[in-house]
């Protein structure tokens, strides 16, 4: 991994991953909404040993702006060894149920904008004939639960898309990785009461992610124990699952 493009670079998990790659002297290209925050990261990553840090403003929600932003990134980096897509929101389930236009906006950010990016990246990466695309989805996308199925569906759709794209790009030498974090203590989950053994830090999650990417795993649960938790969650028969207030 030498040249890395991070989309949604101001997210807590993206930041933690970027620090890992900076310490490995990579060239980083950051795309995010808040320019000031990107600039702060630029300084941080440079001190941490990044070979070079470039940044540009992109609101992934603006689908029209994606193409030129990606092209610019490609031009700057030359070969892109890794694209990490990290942007996302945690919608308020109750509000989604009461206000569908709000729900659509959340889907636009979590799902539509991500699929659009993947759609643009697929030919771009195929052309280079090597590289990795890694997307942060969620363990919530593995099975719908009554407490947050809007979020789950918005992430699960991306996971299904990735499965297909992985097959399509396999013959071109591109690996497509699905990253499924569990509960992570980040600004996105600020409103949730935390504590308990399942909560993890962005640093811990980034460790699982970067290790998984190095190994070329198709699907990374972060931290790894979520793989087994979700295995159990998926195995619960529906006639029981529907009665669980999960």
């Amino acid at each position: 991994m030498q040249n890395i493009l991070i989309i949604g670079a101001n997210s807590a998990i993206a930041k933690a991953c970027a620090r890992h790659y900076a310490a490995a002297a990579c060239h980083l290209y950051l795309l995010g909404r808040d320019k000031r925050k990107l600039e702060i990261q630029e300084g941080d990553l440079s001190v941490r040993g990044a070979k070079k840090v470039d940044l540009a403003v992109l609101d992934s929600d603006s689908l029209d702006e994606q193409q030129s932003a990606l092209e610019q990134a490609k031009k700057t980096l030359g070969v892109i060894d890794l694209v990490l897509i990290c942007h996302g929101v945690l919608p308020d389930q109750q509000r989604c149920e009461n206000d569908f236009s709000y729900a659509l906006q959340q889907f636009h950010t979590n799902t539509t904008s991500t699929l659009s990016l993947l759609n643009l990246l697929a030919p771009m990466m195929s052309e280079q004939g090597k590289g990795t695309i890694a997307v942060i989805t969620s363990v919530a996308g593995d099975r719908g639960r009554q407490s947050n199925y809007y979020y789950g569906a918005s992430k699960g759709a991306v996971s299904i898309f990735i499965q297909g794209l992985r097959g399509k790009l396999f013959s071109k030498g591109i690996s497509v990785i699905d990253i499924k974090p569990g509960f992570v203590d980040t600004p996105m989950t600020n409103e949730i009461e935390k504590g308990g053994p399942l909560w993890s830090t962005p640093e811990r999650v980034a460790q699982s992610i970067t290790k998984g990417i190095d190994k070329g795993k198709p699907c990374i649960y972060a931290p790894g124990y979520w793989r087994y938790i979700l295995l159990v969650v998926r195995l619960v028969p529906e006639f029981i699952f529907k009665r669980l207030k999960l």
Partner: protein
């Protein structure tokens, strides 16, 4: 949400905010002034022991954890205040730099290290943390960001280093690093049978870069004050290895009856009599030398669910023997003991208004919190005041206003500066209220 600091005593309900940027801190401050007259205080890693980082609103700086710049020629790094000393070490040790001063744990934030003006095993040579701060940015009560250093806004600087976060919120700082050629420490140890012997050892090894003693607080009569002195130097040779992360977790509170005078007596005895080759060089890593307790995650839980108080006092050199004898006799007679008691001889004081260290000896004693403890601590307070000593604010959870004001001669100046900058209306902790700051 219920919050406590490292000693797990006291506990209080607080609103926690975790700003992601300076702009958010400023917004917060403006909103706070309009809405709430109650206290707000910055909190880093929550590693102070008592109530100095407890208030009704806590501004946690954990997300303000970025490096800003590094000047390799000058060996100076500038970072946001929420950066932990641990992440600084993780990054800089492999590159041949160590922190100029480290406290007993690396899990403290840069802002916290400055606000507590922490000291380490090299205080007698290098002073406390503040001596190595070149410049810091402080967010005042009115939302203004002001830069201060020993030469620029010096009063604010000397009030802020050691000022327990009561002058404003430290946003970032530039500190100097110490070049090292190896991450190994050459350690030597010496046993002392009593207080006079350990004092003599401290004087004999006053030129050692690092020195600290472990003290058997339960030994009595002719063995009173028996201890083991550890001195250390950075090795010239050896690899520059990052400090390992592995930690032994303590996931639950230990039943508090496990710590009693018998278990502690046995532990202290065994520890003192462990075989050591006195005076011979031993090569050890940074972690076991500087942060032995960091290898046990949440060791604070060993004291049970009611928590503990770390009583760290200092007494001037000429009064030290008498004072320490009285303190140790009082605690032993009261049936209180401490697993780990640490003794250190300080070097000169600095110009910071509320910094703890000044010439003399300091001892840190850990006591499991129980209602009967307070009476014993009051007796100790009286001994310390009588001998011209004081307590460390970072460890304090219970001293009286009168005791504080007797020990810290600059309190008046500090209160005045707080009034002038409007800090007294905004930045308040449970501790500052208790101490009349």
């Amino acid at each position: 949400m219920q919050v406590h600091s490292w000693g797990r005593f006291p506990k209080t309900d607080s609103k926690i905010v975790r700003p992601q940027s300076l702009a958010q801190v400023q917004e917060l401050l403006a909103a706070h002034q309009q809405l709430e007259p109650s206290g707000l205080i910055a909190r880093g890693c929550g590693r102070s022991y008592g109530d100095s980082a407890l208030a009704s609103t806590l501004v946690c700086t954990g997300l303000l954890d970025h490096f800003i710049s590094f000047d390799e020629d000058k060996a100076e790094v500038k970072c946001a205040a929420g950066v932990s000393l641990s992440s600084l070490l993780e990054h800089f040790v492999p590159r041949g730099f160590f922190l100029p001063v480290v406290p007993g744990t690396r899990f403290v934030s840069l802002g916290g290290a400055i606000a507590s003006d922490v000291h380490g095993k090299n205080h007698h040579i290098d002073g406390s943390f503040g001596a190595h701060v070149k410049e810091l940015s402080l967010l005042l009560a009115n939302g203004e960001l002001i830069s201060c250093s020993p030469t620029h806004n010096a009063d604010l600087f000397h009030a802020t280093c050691g000022g327990m976060g009561l002058t404003g919120i430290i946003v970032d700082a530039t500190i100097s690093l110490k070049p090292i050629s190896s991450s190994c420490i050459e350690q030597r140890s010496f046993k002392a049978q009593n207080l006079s012997e350990i004092f003599a050892l401290f004087d004999e090894y006053k030129d050692a870069s690092y020195s600290v003693a472990w003290l058997d607080c339960l030994a009595k009569n002719e063995h009173l004050g028996r201890s083991i002195l550890y001195i250390g130097e950075h090795a010239e040779r050896g690899a520059l290895d990052a400090i390992k992360r592995s930690k032994l977790p303590i996931p639950i509170d230990a039943p508090s009856f496990m710590l009693n005078r018998y278990t502690m007596g046995a532990f202290n005895k065994l520890y003192f009599h462990k075989p050591i080759k006195e005076g011979s060089k031993q090569i050890i890593g940074l972690q076991p030398f500087f942060f032995p307790l960091d290898s046990i995650e949440s060791w604070n839980r060993l004291y049970g669910k009611n928590g503990f108080v770390q009583y760290q006092f200092l007494v001037p050199t000429d009064a030290a023997k008498d004072a320490i004898e009285k303190v140790l006799n009082t605690t032993r007679n009261a049936g209180k003991g401490s697993f780990l008691s640490v003794l250190k001889k300080f070097g000169p004081a600095n110009k910071n208004w509320l910094s703890f260290p000044k010439p003399g000896y300091t001892i840190a004693l850990d006591f499991k919190w129980e209602p009967s403890l307070e009476a014993v601590l009051r007796e100790l307070d009286a001994i310390i005041i009588d001998h011209g000593g004081r307590l460390y604010l970072t460890k304090d959870a219970r001293m009286s206003e009168q005791m504080f004001k007797a020990g810290y001669e600059n309190w008046n100046k500090f209160v005045q500066l707080r009034q002038e900058t409007g800090a007294d209306k905004v930045f308040n902790s449970l501790q500052s209220r208790r101490l009349g700051l």
